[in-house]
Symmetry: C2
């Protein structure tokens, strides 16, 4: 029996399934991929997939939860590494740009489009992702206003929502054009208004 390296460790195969599923959802959408797609990339059968994730809904939920956790970790890292609010926001936008560079949509932006067709547990997880993002941006904006580096016309909450939805929209539109500069320009336009 191996000593586990850390808490709540997913199996090797489960991790590979999540990696492939994540990419497929971000590129094709939850309704645009199948267990067979994942299985063929792993050179396995769909039956084996069902051993690791009982159904597509459970796989979907696991995908969102891992993605959200990774995102939150990245936000923590930004908080630890970068002092000023404006630079934190730039780093935040760079996270999105990194996703787009892989020709992917934000996982939860994609699932927001498909929201009406998602099983309930997935819906809740999508909302939790957006809530967490807005809360982090709102905190950064509030701190920045306090420190005098951020100018807010209205509430920090409204500005945070504008930034999050604006970045999601910039990804959504840039991807069909395959044009990263489109995203960067929009992100800069979104954020520049809040710098003081």
């Amino acid at each position: 029996m191996m000593a586990s390296k850390q808490r709540s460790e997913a199996g090797e195969t489960a991790t590979r399934i999540l990696d492939i599923g994540e990419r497929l959802v971000q590129v094709r959408g939850f309704n645009g991929f199948s267990y067979a797609d994942v299985a063929s990339e792993l050179a396995m059968t769909t039956a084996a997939l069902h051993y690791h994730f009982p159904g597509k809904a459970e796989l979907g939920r696991a995908l969102i939860e891992r993605y959200t956790q990774r995102f939150l970790d990245a936000l923590e890292e930004i908080d630890a590494r970068i002092p000023g609010a404006p630079d934190k926001l730039d780093a935040y936008a760079a996270l999105y740009a990194g996703v787009l560079r892989g020709q992917r949509m934000c996982l939860c932006g994609m699932l927001a489009a498909e929201y009406q067709t998602l099983p309930d547990p997935m819906r809740d997880a999508v909302i939790a992702f957006i809530d967490a993002n807005e809360a982090w941006v709102e905190r950064v904006l509030s701190d920045g206003r306090q420190a005098g580096s951020i100018a807010l016309p209205g509430s920090a909450s409204d500005a945070a929502r504008l930034i999050v939805s604006g970045l999601e929209g910039a990804m959504l539109v840039a991807r069909p054009y395959g044009d990263l500069a489109r995203f960067d320009t929009a992100a800069e336009g979104l954020l520049s208004g809040f710098r003081r």
Copy 2:
């Protein structure tokens, strides 16, 4: 033989198919609905649908083209009815809000998410929709700058792209929350920066 009321008139049934298909795509996505869904709403068989539209790809293309034409007509109407650039932009955002009020995503915003899975003719039509929107907003911004009612930090083209993608993102995120105010606040935040 009936005298046709206008050029390029679609048949009654074809129009009903387009109406239902349009709603289904805006709510569930192109990969989230089937010919059977449309047929059941019309109390018809899928075979009859194939008489009007040879395949799902052709139906999809017709949906985008009709939607784009309607949108362009609405933009013409705004140009004719509303004088100032800032008010034109407000009316433009109100178009999006009207779509969202029906608990729908913008047809082409939805299809932008599913872009990688779309047949080529549909891809081209999605791009044409976005191009046309950006061109109209850019023209309004340029005219407004000329007239002194619009302030632009950079190019009118960049600002137009920011506005279009920002409104699409605001719809994308507001819909899962079922919260129209979320969209309105984001739209106001997006546009207010350009008023002088």
